[in-house]
Every structure is written in C-alpha cells, then in structure tokens.
C-alpha cells in the first residue's frame, strides 16, 4: 500500500505540473502575442499617417521615388512616438527609398522584412529581430497594386524586457499554484485511498470476528460484502464440519 501511495503522489505531481505548466505556457505566449500585436498596431497608427501623406502625393501625380517632402514628414512622425527608432520606406524589391536614418540609405533592407512584408500581403507585418525589429504595412497605388512598404523600426529590447518581467511573474505564480495543486491533489488522492483502506479494514474485521453471523453482518457493510459473506459462510461451514469430525474421533479415542 505504501508504494501505491507514493505512486499516487507522483501522479498528483505530474498531472498538476502538466496542467499548470501548460496553462503558464499558454499565458506567456498569449501575453507575448498580445503585446506584439499592441506594439504593431501602435506603430501602424503612425505608419498609416505616413501612408496617407504618400497617397496624397501620389494622387497629386508625384512619383513614388521622387517625393522630396517625405523625409521631413517621416522625421515628424518619428517624433510622435518614443518607441519608434526610425521609419523606412522601401519598394517591392527591397530597395530603400526613404529613411529617417540617412546612414541606412545605402544599405538594402533586411531580408526578413521583405519576406514578412510579402507574406503578409495586405495585413500588418511584424519582425522581432535582434537588430532589425520592425512593424510595417504595404503601400498600394490607385490600381490596388503594391508599390512598396513602410517599416517602423523600434527597440525590441524594451518589449523583450517587459516580456521577461511578465514571464518571471507568470512563472512565479505558476510555481506557487503548482505546489498548492500538487499538494491538494495528493491529499485528495490519499483521501480516496483511505476510503479503500477503510473497506479493507472492514473486511479484515469481519474475518477476525468470532462467529459467522457477526462476520456476515460486518462483511455486508463494505463493497466486498457479498463475496466476503460467501467466503465466511463456506469457511465457517468447513471448519465446523472438520471440528465435529475431530470431536467425534476424539470422543471415540477417549472412550
């Protein structure tokens, strides 16, 4: 019975660990996806503003690659949100056309951006990269053809630091709940097993009872009742018969 109890405690620990661990994992990933979505949507609000400026210029007949006032607009928009490190505008081939960071002008845009932008189609896109974290949107002309993309670079460090902080809090909470849950479920399992012990004890008591009538009464109480009653009745009958025969034999020997 002792090893069974140990195993039941193990069951409680493993199942609680699985459930609370999975829930903790889900919580963390839910937080991360929500936080990333909020960051993306926050940046995209600024991106939409840039897009409006570009669309207005296109409607006036300006060439996408020849908007002289766009760099000023980009600088102004960058200043509206301290999360934004820079704004880049690039064409569908990945050539950078405008940037708030003039040193970047000679460099191609990161391949991850172009891939994410192409994959996203009309949706927002998000790249969580060590050096090139960005959120972006696509730019379309009047014929609904994609002519380029706007990328809003941001510092992933601050977003990650927040995520780390939340991960620690969630892990701590999950650890506490796990310990409680494992302890409680182990106790609950042992309580169920105690009931089994009670049933067994009742059966033992019935077997130890001197007379069969009392044994049958005791036996009838537990779940082993019918089986135990038959056991007790048969064994008592056999014992009685053997005792009678022995008595008969002994009486004969004495006389």
């Amino acid at each position: 019975m002792e090893s069974t109890k140990r195993n039941l405690v193990a069951v409680a620990v493993v199942v609680s660990g699985f459930a609370v661990g999975m829930a903790g994992l889900l919580n963390y990933f839910k937080y991360r996806s929500t936080a990333n979505r909020l960051v993306t949507e926050r940046l995209v609000v600024t991106g939409k503003s840039v897009e409006n400026t570009i669309q207005n210029a296109l409607e006036l007949g300006l060439q996408f690659s020849d908007m002289t006032t766009l760099p000023t607009t980009l600088d102004r928009e960058r200043a509206t949100d301290d999360l934004i490190q820079g704004i880049d505008v690039f064409d569908t081939e990945g050539s950078l056309l405008y940037s708030t960071d003039h040193l970047r002008a000679s460099r191609p845009v990161p391949a991850a951006w172009l891939a994410a932008a192409r994959r996203a189609g009309n949706d927002n896109w998000f790249v969580d990269d060590d050096n090139d974290a960005a959120a972006g949107i696509s730019l379309k002309n009047n014929f609904n053809l994609t002519i380029g993309y706007i990328a809003l670079r941001f510092s992933a460090d601050s977003v990650r630091a927040d995520a780390r902080q939340v991960a620690q809090e969630l892990a701590l909470a999950a650890a506490g709940i796990f310990v409680l849950s494992a302890a409680l479920s182990a106790l609950a399992l042992l309580a169920v097993m105690r009931r089994l012990n009670t049933d067994v004890s009742a059966a033992e008591q019935a077997l130890r009872a001197g007379d069969s009538a009392r044994a049958a009464t005791l036996a009838a109480r537990g779940p082993f009742g019918p089986a135990l009653r038959r056991f007790v009745e048969t064994t008592r009958a056999a014992e009685t018969e053997i005792a009678e025969l022995r008595g008969r034999l002994q009486r004969g020997v004495q006389s």
């Binding site: 090893s3 069974t4 195993n7 039941l8 193990a10 069951v11 493993v14 609680s16 459930a19 609370v20 829930a23 903790g24 994992l25 889900l26 919580n27 839910k30 937080y31 936080a35 909020l38 960051v39 949507e41 926050r42 609000v45 600024t46 939409k48 509206t80 949100d81 999360l83 927040d162 902080q165 939340v166 709940i177 849950s181 479920s185 609950a188 399992l189 169920v192 097993m193 009931r195 089994l196 067994v200 033992e204 077997l207 130890r208 779940p223 082993f224 089986a227 056991f231 064994t235 056999a238 014992e239 053997i242 005792a243 009678e244 025969l245 022995r246 008969r248 034999l249 004969g252 006389s255």
Partner: protein, 701 residues
C-alpha cells in the same frame, strides 16, 4: 466485483485530481488576469495615445485652416470611423479648457465629467505634448491628451478603453484551458494506470481469487504466495484461514489414517463415521496443494505495454493538427504534381507504409521479439521526427515521414503481438481494450496539445517535442520483458499469399464489409479529418489549435461512444444496422458542410463523423467473422483479418489523395460534401447488399 470496484476507485481518484486541477487552472487564470492587467494596460494606453495623436493632429489641422475649435463639424462621424478601425477604443470625447464635453462618441463613463474637470487633468493643458497616465474612470481606462495650437490651449482629447479588454484576452484562452483540462484528465487516467493501476488491478484480482477460492470451498494451498500487494494484510488473513482449514483437514486425515492402521478389532466404532465424513468433505471441498496462478503475473506484464504505447502514439498524434499546414509551408513546385496532391502525399505515404509494412513487421516481430521490434521502431520514428523538424522542403519531408511510418508500423505491430502473447485466452478482448485505450487516449490528447504547441512555439519545435516523446517511449520500452511468454492457442504469423488475397477480393461477402464499409470509413477519416480539416480551418483564418480541438472532438466522441455502441452489437442484424447507420451518419457529417462554411459547422460535422464511426467501428470487424465463417475456417482468421486490415489501411492511404484531388477540382467545402455523400451512399449500398445476402452459415454449407 473487481472491475466495477476498480472502476469506482479510478473514477474517484481521477475525479479528485480533475477537481483540484480545475481549481488550479481557475486560480492560474485569476492570477494571470492581474499580471496581464498590470503589464498590458500601459501598452494599451500607448497604443490609444498613438490613435489620439492622429485625432489631435486632425483637429489642429482644421483649426489651422481657420475652423473655430467650437465650430468643428463631422467630429462624431470621425469618432465612429476610429472605433471601427480600433475596436478597443470604447469612448472618445473632446472637452474644452474647463472640462465640458463638446463631442463624444458614446455616453460618458460614470465619473467622467468629474475626471475631465479635475485640476490634474486640466493642468495638462500647460504641457502640450504630454499624455496623462492611464486613469480608471468607471468601467474604462481613460487616456487624456491636451489639444494646444501654438500657445493657445483649446481643450482636451480623452480616449477610453473598456477595462474588460483583459477579460477578453483571458477568455480567448478559455478553449485552450479547457483542452488542457481534458488532456490532464486523460493523462491522470493513464498515469494512474501506469504508476498505480496495474498493481492495484493485480492486487484486486488476487483478492477476488482468494475470495472465490474460499467461497467455492477450494482450500488447497497454492504453491507460491502472492507478491507485494495493496491488500496484503487482508489476503494474508484469508490465505491463513484457508491454510488453517487445509491443515485441519490434513491433520484429521492423518489421525483417521493412523486409526485405521491398528488391528480391525481395536478400531473405534466412530472411526468409520469419521472416515465417511472426511470423504464427504473431500467431495464437497478441495484440499491439498494447489497449482500456482499465472494470470496475475501475465496481467502485470500485459499492463506494462500501455505506457510506452501511449507515449509513442502521442508523439505521432501530436503532429496531426499541424502536419498539413507544415507541408504547405514546405511546398516546392514539382512538375506534373499539383500542390494539393503534394499536400496530401506525406499523409497518404505514411498510411501506405503502415498498411503494407504491418504484415511484414508481424513476421519480423515474431523472429526478434516484441521488445526489440518496439525499440527499433521507436528509434526509427524518433529519427524521423527529428529530421521532420529540420526538413527543407516537402520532398525530404516525405522521406522523414516515411521513417516515422516505418517506426509507427513496427511499434503498432509489436504492441499488438505483445497483447496477444501476454493476454489470457479467456480475457483477450479485455486485454485488447487496454491496447485500444492507450491509442484512443493518445488520439484525444495529441492533436489538441499539438495544435496549441504549434501555434505558440512553432511547428518545428513541436516536431522536436514529438521526437522527445518517441525517445521517452524507448526508455519505457526497455522495461518490457525481452522474451515473449509461452503462447497458447495462437498460430504463428504468416504473410497472406497472393492467391488468398485474390480469393478474398473476389468474395462478395468479404468485400461487402471491407469494400462498402471498412474502406470508405477510413477514407472519410483520413480524407476529412487528417487532410481537409487542418487545411480548411486554417484557410478560414482560424488556428492550428482550433484544428486540434476539432480533431480532439472526434477522438472524444469515439472514446465516449465506442464502448456504448460496442455493447449494442449483440446480433448480426444489429451489427448490420450499426455499420450501415454509422456510415450514413458519418457521411452526413461531410454533407453538413452544405449548411455553412464556418468553423462551427466543421465542429458539428466532426461530431457526426465521430458518432458515425463509433457506431460502425466495433461491428465492422465483428461482421467479418460473421460473414466469412467459411473463409476463416478454410484460410484461418489470421489471413482473413490480415487482408481485411490491409485493405482497411489502404483506405487510410487513399483518403488524403481523394480529398486532395477533390480540393483541386471543387474546393474545400464541396470536397467535404462529396466525400460525405459518397460514404453515406456506401452505407445505403451496404444495407441493401446485406439484406439480399444469404446468411454465412448457409453459404458455408
């Protein structure tokens, strides 16, 4: 007594754990809600402030263009547009410099007016670029921003977010948490069985045997005692009682024998009566030395196979919900093969290898033993999972999935043979329930957890977890006995000959069950559940976790309903009804997609498919024995059932290819309908065919 009592204990144990785990998950949701609120509210505020900056810029442009601040028009319309663009924004208002509302998108939250007029908020007018910290007002979080044109303060912009936005995030996870709870319940049952159940079951069986020995008057002492038992003291007490009676009888016999050795004239007259009594006792009861019981040891060995089987099958089932999506990611153009067919190819190839490989691995298993076959199979599959996680394109993935299929077939066959070898001939059906139970539990847990993992940590790491599980099963398989037990009444496995396969293929009664019922049922399962659903659900904008939940629903239906429907299959006519009705019902599941294409309809369709399959699955294989008595007598049940399983699994392989071809021609939804309608028609055809068919007994004669 044993089974119902044990089931009662199991249910109580599992119920206790499930209740505590449910409470733990609720507590976890509560705590995470608070953490989310603290962490996400500032981020939401920053997002709302970005939205506010746009509105403020618009207002300032209008004022700059000469429109007076108190004469702005169309403001409320713009608020409505913004609420459409950013649904989290529940309230927008513009107030003047005194905090009086000029424009609002909805009724003010409770306490809003006092907040707008509070000195802290109005003080912001002196710092034009400032954004007030998030303030909770009534049921909303408010962000306030000053509107200042040059040096002139015009008013304030206020944006509100419903405080329940965090509730929605937590509620979003509800489905996944319920899945975790269901899976935890199944894990509990498996673990109870693995860590404690087998021993408890053996102990209860020992207890039951001892009860039975005593009750039936069998006092013969077994040559070997019981091992360590959960009810050791009770069994010892009962054994003691039986041994005492046995010893008393032996002593009495000796005394009677001693009495008989004296000369006849010295014998006591009572001796004859005692001797007669002894003979009467010996006739009614059994005394002496009994044979040791082997069933307990064998059942203990039998239960050992469940844990490794569960772990291994779980590894494969984990991939069920995300495999088609993964294949889609790895697609490369292959001349002459459509992308849809390529998508179905890894599943079809897997099923084909399992179908064709199983007969051969059966022979291999008999030669090298269960443990070795299972070890090799699990190792091969582990390699397959690792390589699948690193796959470059669909072409190398085909190779890696083939390794997984080989491993699966080996472990499956060896597991089946293990059960056959260690099960008592009288309790083979119950022993097979153990085998099927492990598979069904893995089918419930795998796809749902796999979908959640794939959505959160990615598909490749999820494959790595599958590899870990398969590798973990190797450790448990090592604990299985190396040599098989002495097999009684089981003929050696042999491959069916081509002539035998041909004869069965031409046999009308065999093909009625196999061709009209078993194969279509499997085609529906793999075509609809394994191919169409994961792809369709994701194509509808839902997640792989949702596909997993839907597949879990199928498995839950099977687990819940299969035992009920199996108990209904008591007569041949009922079996016909169950098989035909089951096929029609599961086919209607596919047809149901005519009603709508939303994910809810897919759920309902899968419920019908699960219900239909659970009706027909047990009766199908039983009907083979009913319909083909003559063939079984002539060829042996190994050959007849071997060919039946082979064809059934070929149906598994054909399902995804049929579905892929249909998707190419008619699209996803119509493919559901076409496959469903075809299966329902097979059900009707089956019913008609069995109605006209003569009984097997007549055919055999």
């Amino acid at each position: 007594m044993n089974q119902s009592y044990l089931r009662g204990i199991y249910l109580r144990l599992a119920g206790a754990v499930t209740l505590v785990v449910m409470l733990a998950l609720a507590a976890n949701a509560l705590v995470s809600h608070r953490i989310f609120e603290t962490a996400l509210a500032p981020q939401m505020a920053a997002k709302v402030a970005s939205v506010g900056a746009g509105i403020r810029a618009l207002v300032l442009r209008a004022v700059d263009a000469g429109i007076p601040f108190d004469g702005l028009y169309g403001v409320t319309d713009r608020f409505v547009e913004i609420k459409d663009e950013v649904p989290e924004v529940a309230y927008i208002a513009i107030t003047d410099t005194a905090g009086n509302v000029m424009h609002r998108s909805a009724s003010d939250p409770e306490g809003a007016l006092a907040h707008f007029r509070s000195p802290d908020v109005l003080a912001l007018l002196k710092t034009p670029q400032a954004v007030a910290p998030l303030a909770r007002v009534g049921g909303e979080y408010l962000v306030s921003m000053p509107i200042v044109a040059g040096e002139q303060a015009l008013g304030m912009l206020h944006l509100g977010v419903d405080v329940r936005f965090v509730d929605n995030i937590v509620l979003d996870m509800l489905y996944d948490v319920v899945v975790v709870l269901v899976v935890a319940l199944f894990f509990t049952l498996e673990l109870l069985h693995f860590l404690a159940g087998a021993k408890m079951e053996a102990s209860l069986r020992g207890l039951g045997e001892t009860f039975e020995r005593g009750a039936s008057g069998n006092f013969a002492t077994p040559r070997s005692g019981h091992g360590e038992q959960a009810f050791g003291a009770l069994v010892k007490l009962m054994d003691g009682t039986l041994a005492r009676i046995n010893a008393a009888y032996a002593a009495l016999s000796r005394d009677v024998e001693d009495g008989r050795r004296v000369p006849a004239h010295e014998r006591h007259p009572g001796l004859a009566a005692a001797q007669g009594g002894l003979q009467a006792l010996a006739a009614r009861f059994k005394f002496g030395a009994g044979a040791p019981s082997t069933s307990q040891a064998d059942d203990g060995q039998l239960a050992k196979v469940r844990a490794p089987l569960f772990m291994f099958i779980l590894a494969e089932e984990l991939t069920r919900s995300f495999l088609p999506g993964y294949v889609k990611e790895l697609l490369v153009p292959v001349p002459g093969v459509s992308p849809q067919l390529l998508l179905g190819l890894p599943i079809a190839l897997f099923m084909l290898i399992v179908a064709i490989g199983q007969p051969f691995f059966g022979v291999y298993c008999e030669r090298v033993g269960h443990r070795k076959t299972m070890l090799v199979g699990a190792a091969v599959a582990t390699l397959g999972f690792i390589a699948s996680a690193l796959a470059h394109s669909v072409l190398d993935l085909l190779l890696w999935r083939s390794l997984c299929a080989l491993g699966y077939a080996m472990v499956f066959v060896a597991g089946q043979a293990y059960v056959l070898d260690f099960a008592n001939p009288g309790s083979r059906a119950r022993s097979f329930a153990l085998f099927v139970g492990a598979i069904m539990a893995a089918t419930v847990c795998g796809p749902s957890i796999g979908g959640i993992l794939a959505d959160n940590i990615g598909v490749r790491p999820s494959f790595a977890i599958a590899a870990l599980l398969a590798a973990g099963s190797i450790l448990v398989i090592r604990g299985l006995p190396g040599k098989s037990a002495a097999v009684s009444g089981r003929t050696a496995t042999r491959l069916p000959r081509m002539a035998e396969i041909g004869a069965l293929l031409l046999n009308r009664r065999f093909m009625t069950v196999t061709g009209l019922a078993a194969m279509p049922a499997k085609m529906l399962l793999t075509g609809v559940c394994f191919y169409l659903i994961p792809l369709y659900v994701v194509s509808e904008g839902s997640t792989q976790a949702m596909a997993g939940r839907i597949l879990m629903t199928y498995a839950v239906m099977m687990v819940v309903m299969a035992p009920v429907t199996a108990s209904l299959a008591t007569t041949r006519e009922r079996m016909h009804g169950l098989v035909g009705g089951g096929l029609v019902l599961s086919g209607l599941g596919g047809v149901l997609m005519l009603a709508g294409g939303a994910v809810g309809w897919v759920f309902l369709a899968v419920v019908l498919v699960g219900l239909g399959q659970s009706l027909s699955i047990s009766a199908q294989s039983a009907l083979i024995g009913e319909h083909c008595e003559a063939e079984v007598a002539q060829l042996g049940d190994g050959v007849v059932y071997g060919v039946y399983r082979l064809l059934e699994r070929l149906g598994n392989a054909m399902g995804p290819m049929i579905a892929a071809t249909l998707v190419l021609q008619v699209g996803y939804r119509t493919s559901f309908v076409v496959i469903g309608a075809a299966v329902a028609l097979c059900g009707v055809a089956f019913m008609l065919a069995v109605r006209r068919q003569p009984r097997a007994a007549l055919a055999a004669a």
